[in-house]
C-alpha cells in the first residue's frame, strides 16, 4: 500500500492535474458567463481534491485524506450550489462586467504564469516543495485570483476571485506541508462558506437598493 505510489509514479499524474488547475484559472479569467465560471471553479476544485487524495495516499497521512473529504464537500458541492443559487436569484444579466476586458485579462494572466515559472528557474524552489510544478502553479493561481478580484465589477465575480486565490493557497500548503492541520482547514472552509452566505445576502441587498450588483455604484450615498 505504501510503496506503489512512489514519487516517480505520482509526479506525472500530479503534473497533469496541476496543468488542469492552471488551465481552469485561465478559463475563469477568459469566460464571460457567470454559470460557466462556476463550472470551471467546480472542475478546478475537483482536480484539487484528486491531487490531495493522491498526495494523501502516497504519504499515507490520514489528516490529508480528511482534508480531501472536507474540500470535496465544501468546494465541490456547497460553494458551487450556493453560487448558482445566488446567480439564479439576483442576476437578471448573467454576464461578467469587466473593468479590463476578458481577453486582456487572459493575456495578463499568461504573463503572470510566465513570470512565476521564469522566477522558479532561477530560484530553486525544489528544496521546500514536494512537487515543484505544483508549487509554481499554486503561486500563479494565487496571483490570477488576485487579478480576477481586481479586474471585475460584480461582487459575485470578485468573490470567485477570492475562491480561486484560496484554491491556490490550498495547493501551496498541500505541496509544502501536506495540507494544513485539520482544525485550521475546518476553520478556512467555514470562513469560505460564511463568505458565500454574506456575499449572497450582500449581493441581494445591493440589488434591492441599487437595482444592480455593480459595486462601482456603491460610491453613491443612498438613504
Amino acid at each position: 500500500m505504501n510503496n506503489f505510489l512512489t514519487q516517480e509514479f505520482t509526479t506525472p499524474i500530479i503534473s497533469y492535474f496541476t496543468v488542469v488547475l492552471l488551465l481552469m484559472s485561465i478559463l475563469i479569467t477568459g469566460s464571460n458567463r457567470l454559470k460557466s465560471i462556476v463550472k470551471f471553479y467546480l472542475l478546478q476544485s475537483s482536480c484539487l481534491v484528486i491531487i490531495t487524495l493522491i498526495i494523501g495516499f502516497s504519504i499515507n497521512n490520514p489528516e490529508t485524506l480528511r482534508i480531501a473529504i472536507i474540500t470535496l464537500l465544501g468546494k465541490c458541492i456547497v460553494i458551487p450550489l450556493a453560487l448558482n443559487f445566488v446567480i439564479d436569484k439576483s442576476q437578471a444579466n448573467k454576464e461578467v462586467v469587466p473593468i479590463i476586458s476578458p481577453s486582456t485579462t487572459v493575456l495578463i494572466a499568461s504573463a503572470l504564469i510566465a513570470f512565476v515559472y521564469g522566477l522558479s528557474m532561477t530560484q530553486n524552489f525544489g528544496r521546500i516543495a514536494y512537487y515543484p510544478g505544483l508549487f509554481n502553479a499554486a503561486i500563479s493561481i494565487i496571483l490570477i485570483g488576485l487579478l480576477i478580484m481586481i479586474s471585475r465589477k460584480k461582487a459575485l465575480t470578485q468573490i470567485i476571485g477570492l475562491y480561486v486565490m484560496e484554491n491556490g493557497i490550498f495547493a501551496l500548503t498541500l505541496d509544502t506541508v501536506f495540507g494544513m492541520p485539520f482544525v485550521v482547514e475546518m476553520g478556512i472552509s467555514l470562513d469560505l462558506f460564511i463568505g458565500v452566505l454574506i456575499m449572497g445576502v450582500w449581493t441581494l441587498r445591493i440589488k434591492q437598493s441599487f437595482d444592480s450588483i455593480d459595486v462601482s455604484k456603491l460610491s453613491k450615498l443612498k438613504g
Binding site: 506525472p12 503534473s15 497533469y16 496543468v19 492552471l22 488551465l23 485561465i26 478559463l27 477568459g30 464571460n32 476578458p102 481577453s103 487572459v106 493575456l107 494572466a109 499568461s110 504564469i113 510566465a114 515559472y117 522558479s120 528557474m121 510544478g133
Partner: protein, 323 residues
C-alpha cells in the same frame, strides 16, 4: 530508381492526391452535417460538379481593378498547394521540407490570406472590404497561436520539419504523452477550426453578407477565378485537417513503398481524416456561431494555452539539461 526520380514521383503524387481529395473531404463534411440535421445532404461528388461548373463559366473581371485582382487566385492557389507539400498525407517526402519547415508553412498560408484580403478591397465593394478587414483581424489572432503551438512541438522533437515531428511523436512514450504536447495540440485544434473557417468562428454555409468572412471576400469573383479560390480554400482545409490528424494520431506514416504498405497507409489516412471530420461536423451541429467580437476571447484563450504549453516545455527541457 534513384532518389531524385523517387522524390519527384512522391511530390507529384502528393500534389495530385491533395487536389483530388480536397473537394471530396468538404463534401463528406457537408453530407454528414446534412444527415445529422435530418436532411439528405449533398451528393458525395458535389465538390467536383461545382468545380467543373466554375471552370466552364465565363470569367467576368471588373475594369476598375488592377492586376492584383486577377493574379490573386493564382497566388492563393499555388501558395496553398506549396504549403501542402510540407504536411505529409500518409508518406514521407524528404527533399521538399529541406528549408523553412513549420515557419515557412505558416507564412505560406498567411501569404495567400494577405493577397486574398488585398484583392477583396480592389473592386471597392463594401461587403468585400468588410470581410477582408474581419479576415485580417482573425489572422492577427490565429498566426501567433499556430506558430507558438507548432514551436512547442518543434522543441519537443528537436526539429522544425513536420514529418520529423510526427515520426518523433511515434517514438515518444505513449503511456504518458507530455502535458505540453497535449496543450499544444489543444490550442492547435481550436486555431485550426478558426483557420479553416468553421462554425464557432465563421460559417461557410451562410450567404448573408453581414456575417460572412471568407465567403465575403469572394463576392466579386466569377468563373474560373472563383473556381480557383474555392478550390484553394478546400485545399487549405484538407491540409490543416491532415496536419491535425497526423499530429494527434502520429502512426501510419509510411516510408517504404510496397503495394500493401501503400494501401494500409491510405486506408489509415482516410480513417484519420474521417475521425477529424466527424469531430468537426459534430461541433458544427452542436455549437452555435459566436458573435464576431466574442471570437477574440476564444482565440486569446487558446493563445494563453499555447503560451502555457511553451512555458512548460521550456521548463521540462531546462530540467533535462540540468542534471
Amino acid at each position: 530508381m534513384n532518389i531524385e526520380t523517387k522524390n519527384i514521383i512522391l511530390i507529384l503524387s502528393q500534389i495530385i492526391g491533395l487536389l483530388l481529395l480536397s473537394p471530396m473531404v468538404n463534401s463528406v463534411i457537408k453530407k454528414m452535417k446534412g444527415l445529422l440535421q435530418g436532411r439528405k445532404g449533398i451528393p458525395l461528388f458535389q465538390g467536383y460538379y461545382d468545380l467543373t461548373k466554375y471552370f466552364h463559366k465565363e470569367t467576368v473581371i471588373s475594369d476598375q481593378t488592377s492586376w492584383i485582382f486577377s493574379t490573386t487566385p493564382l497566388i492563393v492557389f499555388s501558395s496553398t498547394l506549396t504549403a501542402g507539400l510540407f504536411v505529409p498525407m500518409f508518406f514521407e517526402i524528404e527533399s521538399i521540407g529541406m528549408f523553412g519547415g513549420v515557419i515557412l508553412f505558416v507564412y505560406l498560408l498567411s501569404l495567400g490570406r494577405f493577397f486574398m484580403s488585398l484583392a477583396a478591397m480592389e473592386p471597392g465593394s463594401g461587403f468585400c472590404g468588410m470581410a477582408s478587414s474581419r479576415e485580417m483581424m482573425l489572422s492577427v489572432l490565429i498566426e501567433p497561436v499556430m506558430l507558438l503551438s507548432l514551436i512547442v512541438l518543434c522543441l519537443l522533437s528537436n526539429s522544425t520539419q513536420i514529418p520529423t515531428i510526427i515520426t518523433s511523436l511515434v517514438k515518444h512514450d505513449l503511456t504518458f504523452p507530455s502535458i505540453s504536447y497535449v496543450l499544444a495540440i489543444f490550442a492547435l485544434f481550436i486555431i485550426s477550426i478558426a483557420e479553416i473557417g468553421r462554425i464557432p468562428f465563421d460559417n461557410q454555409e451562410t450567404h448573408y453578407e453581414l456575417t460572412m468572412i471568407h465567403e465575403g471576400m469572394l463576392l466579386e469573383y466569377s468563373g474560373k477565378l472563383l473556381g480557383l479560390m474555392v478550390w484553394a480554400n478546400w485545399l487549405k482545409q484538407l491540409i490543416i485537417i491532415s496536419l491535425i490528424c497526423n499530429l494527434i494520431f502520429p502512426w501510419g506514416i509510411i516510408n517504404k513503398f510496397t503495394l500493401i504498405s501503400i494501401s494500409t497507409g491510405l486506408a489509415f489516412y482516410i480513417l484519420k481524416i474521417l475521425i477529424i471530420s466527424i469531430i468537426i461536423t459534430l461541433g458544427e451541429t452542436v455549437i452555435a456561431k459566436v458573435r464576431l467580437f466574442r471570437v477574440k476571447d476564444i482565440l486569446v484563450t487558446s493563445f494563453a494555452i499555447s503560451v502555457l504549453a511553451l512555458i512548460l516545455v521550456i521548463q521540462e527541457l531546462g530540467r533535462v539539461s540540468m542534471p
